[in-house]
């Protein structure tokens, strides 16, 4: 019943932090962004050695069998390092989808492949579910999927796509069966794809029909929480770097951190950001249940961190002054990652609308 991490969770956090800070200095990020690659394959291999792709896969299928709290702990560290690897979709949502909507045979087939990194399944939703801008509509006919989704993240890093229809049914297709147009995004560490399907051979997740929509939303909320935690990590990095810079940078013969103007920005950043961590943990703990409370917590976590991170990322650049606006120290990389996460799977405005609906606050 505690609100905190246990020893194993702290060890996971520490192991990821250590590995990611060593592997991703700002220079490595810069090189990756210039490469135009879909994701950092070397980093992905390292994360595989740490068991990250199989984090939520049950042990009987070759994973670690961990829950949503561990997933947000990992997502926070990935965001903190601006890691150019898939996670919210290919690790969190894909595993959740198969666990909750897959048949026994489907679980047995896909979950070991997710854990081994062999299958990277990006996840997208019909517009009616996610509330993202851009078209996102699919139709299933005779086991073949047609339709399009204008904005999908992690798709170009994926071997398969899992697309949720408006009625909540999940449908799996091979990436090679889709026509995909990739674009650089505002977040240099992750690209987006416009995906079109024309009668692609598809496998439907065999969820009980009445539960399909509820299950799809559960998967979506898990993805929202993973993105919220990623934003938390990115914001924490920006805050930590601002504090370090304010202690070291001198103007007028004193460290800029001794001026109240700068000090108060740092105080405001930590005052807004720190409670978001507990909020995200709380929402993660609640996801075991199917309650409205769990839904509201996930939606509010995504919405609240989105707004807090916008403030924190702005102030962090301001504390740095001109050098914060340049790429020299890498501050824009996190700013841009935060901006990207905000819009994916429903921005704060959309999440609040949904929270109002869930609570019966709107007719």
């Amino acid at each position: 019943m505690d609100m905190g991490l246990n020893q194993e969770q702290e060890l996971l956090e520490e192991a990821l932090r250590r590995y990611l800070t060593q592997s991703l200095p700002v220079d490595a990020l810069r090189r990756f962004m210039e490469s135009g690659q879909a994701f950092d394959a070397t980093l992905w291999q390292g994360l595989l050695d740490l068991g990250v792709p199989g984090l939520m896969v049950p042990q009987e299928y070759g994973g670690s069998g961990l829950g949503m709290l561990e997933a947000v702990v990992a997502a926070e560290q990935l965001g903190a390092a601006a890691s150019p690897v898939p996670f919210a979709g290919c690790v969190v949502m894909a595993t959740q989808a198969l666990l909750h909507a897959g048949s026994k045979a489907q679980r047995k087939h896909w979950l070991p492949r997710i854990a081994s990194g062999e299958a990277r399944i990006a996840v997208g939703f019909a517009h009616a579910l996610s509330g993202q801008t851009g078209a996102a509509e699919f139709g299933l006919e005779g086991g073949r999927l047609s339709g399009r989704i204008d904005v999908m993240f992690e798709a170009d890093a994926a071997t398969h796509l899992l697309l949720f229809l408006a009625d909540g049914r999940g449908v799996l297709v091979e990436t090679s069966a889709a026509r995909m147009e990739t674009h650089a995004s505002v977040d240099g560490t992750r690209r987006i794809a416009r995906v079109a399907l024309q009668g692609a051979p598809a496998q439907t997740l065999e969820c009980a029909p009445g539960d399909a929509r509820r299950t799809a939303i559960k998967v979506l909320d898990a993805g929202r929480l993973a993105l919220a935690a990623d934003t938390l990590g990115a914001s924490q990095t920006m805050l930590d770097r601002s504090i370090a810079y304010a202690k070291e940078r001198e103007q007028f013969g004193r460290p800029i951190g001794s001026f109240q103007g700068v000090k108060y920005m740092c105080a405001d950043m930590v005052t807004q950001l720190e409670p978001c961590r507990a909020l995200i943990w709380h929402a993660a703990n609640l996801q075991q249940s199917d309650s409205d409370e769990a839904r509201v917590a996930a939606l509010q976590a995504k919405a609240h961190i989105g707004d807090v991170a916008r403030e924190v990322s702005r102030m962090a650049i301001e504390v740095h002054g001109g050098v914060g606006f340049t790429n020299l120290l890498g501050m824009p990389y996190w700013f841009r990652r935060i901006a990207f996460n905000r819009q994916m799977l429903g921005n704060p405005e959309r999440c609040r609308d949904e929270a109002a609906l869930v609570q019966g606050w709107v007719d």
Partner: protein
Amino acid sequence: MELPEKYKALQSSIRAFIAEHGGKSPPAGGGRKRPDAQTRAWQVLLVERGFAARTVPREYGGYGAAPDILEATLIAEEFAAANMHPGIMNQGISMLVPTLLEVGTEAQRREWVGPTIRGEIIWCQGYSEPGAGSDLAAISTRAEVDGDDFVVNGQKIWTSSAHYADMMFLLCRTERNASKHAGLSYLLLSMKTPGIEVRPLQTMTGSEFNEVFLTDVRVPINQIVMGRGKGWEVANITLKHERVAVGNVNKLSYRLQRLVDLLKNTSVDGIALMQMPEYRTRLLRLQGEVLAWKAHQLRLLTELARGEDSGVKRMIVKYGGTMTAHRMSALAVDALGAEGTVFEPKGEQGQDDEITSWNTDHLYDIGLLIGGGTSNIQKNIISERGLGLPREPKPQAADVRATRS
């Protein structure tokens, strides 16, 4: 969240208690006045059943339960949900009692803790002075030993409840030659002692504060806490408890529920405000903040139970929580609109009407940004002690002045 068995049992015992005794509860809220006979009787009942003063040891009149985060949270939530009076909250209970339990003598605990938690003795806090606000250690009220007594002379300000308090915990200067912080002592004194004059200060919400003038006030020397020159240490223990109390998260949850009801039940042109995106969005944003503070509070309590130092995580609560509270009462007065400008507080007698009570919250919240360490002082503490940013270069003259006075 699914509760373990132990907590389910507590939850049903709280509900059974409320079903049986709820009718005796005084109206919830309105805590800024001297508790009447009904409130004191309710308080005694709550202490007996462990719903107030739960962790105060039995030998000092409490219930004697081991600290348990979830138990405390459950009790607060169940009482709030049933709109029950949650027990008396005042500076004696939330600040002095924990201080005495931490550093008081056995005799002091036996004399003061019991009557304080039962609401029989009301305390006021003698800290701030006209010349010592944010810079608290600069106080100049002096106490000198004369026989078996300290003799106190000076002036205190912003003293809430001094006009009806029985006792004061006082910070004063006893050590002439010591440095600014090491020269202070912490005394307990009766407000009936000759030489005390209380003058009310007119404030935004009516008269909440006072000035207290102390002229040759005699305080027995055994009414010092921790000893001479230890006053700053004791005051910091007390302030630690005040900051937890001021940023009270349960109050935010309770207020959020009232706001939800207000927006559902208030209409303009036949449309409920809840159906208007301008109002609903503000409410949703505030719900996000309140959920975050609630979870954060649980995290702090978890760390406390684990014996960890929460550091900056604790320091942000007063500043952040009071700002959230301010935004909430601001939404309430906006929702009430022109009709909501009625302001007729009944003072210490009687229950205020709904509109007046929102207005009082809205005005009082501004006071909370200042009391207990202003938001700006909180930001200094957060950034300097919490984040390790360098201190503002200090003009040395201020130090010299304080030690000489």
